[in-house]
């Protein structure tokens, strides 16, 4: 096993992008302020100097236009990485992503594949309010033809984009703004990671905490809290929101017989709904308790800190919920 190093989530993303740009001439990064500004969240800082303006393209505010152009560049044989600054603005590009990227392979009877990676900053920042804080993984996870990945840990920040670039089909990559400064440990030679499977981040026997994205470290924290009370929680990071790795979910359930699904996105018609429904269908007879969900409260994100915090599941909330479930 290789040496472990400390790294921020931002730096891990950055190293991966740099590696991709260095390894494959066809790869280029396009997005608002990825170049001269250094990236809205400083992920691509220094890239313009290193790779030049043809590989690091600042684009005008025109999400539909440049995302569509990224898709077109993929059709034309390039390997574009399109950065949509935050998921909130991706609604402007949704027609391109759904009506074009996800359907072209099918409509052409398999002739035309769309090998594009679309990265989006997702979730809350810090008090960015109702037009800048949302979690729209559920929208994209609904759509066949897309591969939807959620970067919940540092290792994936260092690896997912590399594997995604090898996909012949469009990949949506959710990165989490609130995690950028967070430090984590990864193997020094960390690189490509599998993008088809969920992953157990903590093994446990009493209950499965099934989650993704910002939920992963929160659930790990909750698991640590629960351990103090002698409760042994398993944390399953879904990682791939589409196509979902049902097998790993069922495997976990068949061990723990209980599950709580945790996410920042709003509760209705969410990733959690899907996880719960799948367990219902294929894991029902394994269950000792009904599966429950702890999700974002259904309100456009309020600005004040105390309300923002209250609107999302926190480690303590998760632990409390688990205790309540196990008590019942």
């Amino acid at each position: 096993m290789s040496k472990m190093i400390k790294i921020t989530y931002r730096e891990a993303l950055k190293q991966a992008l740099r590696e991709a740009l260095q390894t494959d001439e066809k790869v280029f990064l396009m997005g608002e302020d990825v170049g001269r500004y250094g990236g809205a969240f400083a992920v691509s800082k220094g890239f313009l100097e290193e790779f030049g303006p043809d590989r690091i393209m600042d684009v005008p505010l025109s999400e539909s236009g440049f995302t569509g152009a990224g898709i077109g560049a993929a059709l034309g044989g390039m390997k574009p990485i399109v950065e949509v600054m935050t998921v909130n603005f991706s609604l402007l590009a949704m027609d391109q992503i759904i009506n074009n990227a996800s359907t072209l392979l099918h409509m052409s009877g398999g002739q035309v594949n769309v090998s594009v990676v679309i990265r989006m900053g997702c979730g809350i920042g810090s008090q960015l309010a109702a037009q800048h804080s949302h979690s729209w993984e559920p929208f994209y996870a609904h759509v066949p033809g897309l591969i939807v990945l959620s970067v919940g840990v540092h290792e994936d920040a260092r690896g997912m984009v590399l594997t995604a670039l090898k996909s012949p089909d469009p990949v949506i990559l959710f990165e989490y703004t609130s995690m950028l400064n967070m430090e984590g440990e990864i193997p020094e030679n960390s690189g490509e990671v599998d993008i088809s499977k969920a992953k157990v981040r903590r093994s446990g026997n009493d209950i499965s905490l099934i989650t993704y994205g910002t939920g992963v470290y929160k659930c790990l924290e909750a698991a640590a809290l629960l351990a103090e009370d002698g409760i042994d929680a398993e944390v399953l990071d879904l990682r791939v929101l589409r196509p979902m790795d049902e097998e790993s979910i069922l495997e976990s359930i068949s061990k723990t017989h209980r599950a709580l699904v945790v996410e920042d996105a709003w509760r209705s018609v969410s990733i959690s709904s899907e996880v719960s429904a799948r367990i219902m269908e294929k894991g029902f007879f394994e269950l000792d308790l009904p599966v429950e969900r702890l999700c974002g409260v259904e309100v456009p994100m309020p600005y004040p800190k105390h309300l923002e915090t209250a609107a999302l599941p926190q480690p303590m909330d998760i632990a409390d919920k688990v205790k309540k479930m196990l008590r019942s």
């Binding site: 280029f28 043809d54 684009v59 005008p60 025109s62 539909s64 236009g65 440049f66 995302t67 569509g68 152009a69 990224g70 898709i71 077109g72 560049a73 993929a74 059709l75 034309g76 044989g77 390039m78 574009p80 027609d95 391109q96 009506n99 074009n100 072209l104 392979l105 099918h106 409509m107 052409s108 009877g109 398999g110 002739q111 035309v112 594949n113 066949p144 033809g145 591969i147 012949p168 089909d169 196509p243």
Partner: protein, 332 residues
């Protein structure tokens, strides 16, 4: 209203024959498609190109094999002009797996990657960004092909038009935007969709060289597109060409045409690009009546063969339903 085009293209006898053939083939193909629709052999939305042939043929003859074409749901003409086999197009519209998109796309989604024909798009304006991206890819790879994108005047009101024009101009990529201004977007006349109806002015406002041309006149279109392509080759950047034309038939097969007078249609039919070009060739002794007859017969035969091919095509197995969702694997 039309900008003057300087001196008309001369065509050779052989070229003239070929171009007339293409236009007549498209027209006949559309008529047969309409019949097949009435017989419920073709379903979905069917948008016919009759009346606009000079645009597809005039523009496409200037393109090479490696040039990309993207179009709308009204794309049979562009597909034929780009060299797709009418047989596979008809089979596509029948939904047979021998179709150019394996039957998955239907009339609105003709594809043939080998011919560099990239659809067949049914979201109005949605393919413009794709065209800019394909041209960007060409530029990045130092290819010397261009990407040609057809769309209607109605599409020009969409935000994607604005964004695409701006991006193409900023990035200086070799894309030829061809706006087919047939005066209507479904039932909405251009005066209700554009505050400025001389659409070529839009091009200027992006710093993109632009022109408009009589789209009912093949030679005029050829001239205009020659200039367009040579400008693109010279500058490496985009060009915007507005072809003023008219559709003789309804918007789709679901259209009672309440929004325009029959007499208007009749007026425009007098400008039919096919007899106009045919007569030009005849008068210039570039073609004989006999040759015209021969084209007519050939066209009839080609279209009949297309129908036969489609009729004899096969249905895809239902068990393959989830094919083509992901590359080389099936959907869950």
């Amino acid at each position: 209203m039309q900008k003057k085009t300087v001196g008309k293209s001369k065509v050779s006898s052989k070229q003239g024959n070929k171009l007339l053939h293409q236009m007549m083939l498209i027209r006949r193909f559309e008529e047969k498609s309409a019949e097949a629709y009435t017989e419920t052999k073709i379903r979905g939305f069917l948008h016919l190109y009759s009346g606009e042939e000079a645009v597809a043929v005039g523009v496409t003859q200037a393109l090479g094999e490696n040039d990309n074409v993207l179009s709308t749901y009204r794309e049979h003409g562009h597909a034929i002009a780009k060299g797709l086999d009418p047989k596979t197009i008809m089979a596509e519209m029948y939904g047979k797996q021998e179709g150019c998109s394996k039957g998955r796309g239907g009339s609105m989604h003709l594809f043939d990657a080998s011919k560099k024909f990239f659809g067949g798009s049914a979201i109005v304006g949605g393919h413009l960004p794709l065209a800019v991206g394909m041209a960007l890819a060409s530029k990045k790879q130092n290819l010397d092909n261009i990407t040609c994108c057809f769309f209607g005047e109605g599409a020009g009101a969409e935000g994607e038009f604005h964004e695409s024009m701006n991006l193409a101009s900023l990035w200086k990529v070799p894309v030829l935007f061809v706006c087919e201004n047939n005066l209507y977007a479904m039932g909405t006349a251009i005066r209700f969709t554009h505050s400025i109806q001389e659409l070529e002015k839009r091009g200027d406002s992006y710093g993109i060289p632009s022109a408009s041309v009589d789209g009912m006149d093949l030679l005029a279109v050829m001239d205009a597109v020659k200039k367009a392509v040579s400008t693109i080759k010279k500058t490496g950047g985009p060009y915007f060409l507005v072809c003023n034309t008219y559709r003789f038939r309804a918007h789709s097969m679901f259209d009672a045409e309440l929004y325009r007078e029959k007499s208007e249609v009749e007026e425009w039919k007098k400008k039919d690009p096919i007899p106009k070009f045919r007569d030009y060739l005849l008068n210039a002794n570039l073609l004989s009546e006999k040759e015209v007859d021969a084209i007519e017969k050939s066209v009839e035969k080609e279209v009949d063969e297309a129908i036969d091919f489609a009729e004899n095509g096969t249905w895809e197995d239902i068990r393959d339903l989830t094919k083509f969702v992901y590359s080389e694997k099936e959907a869950e």
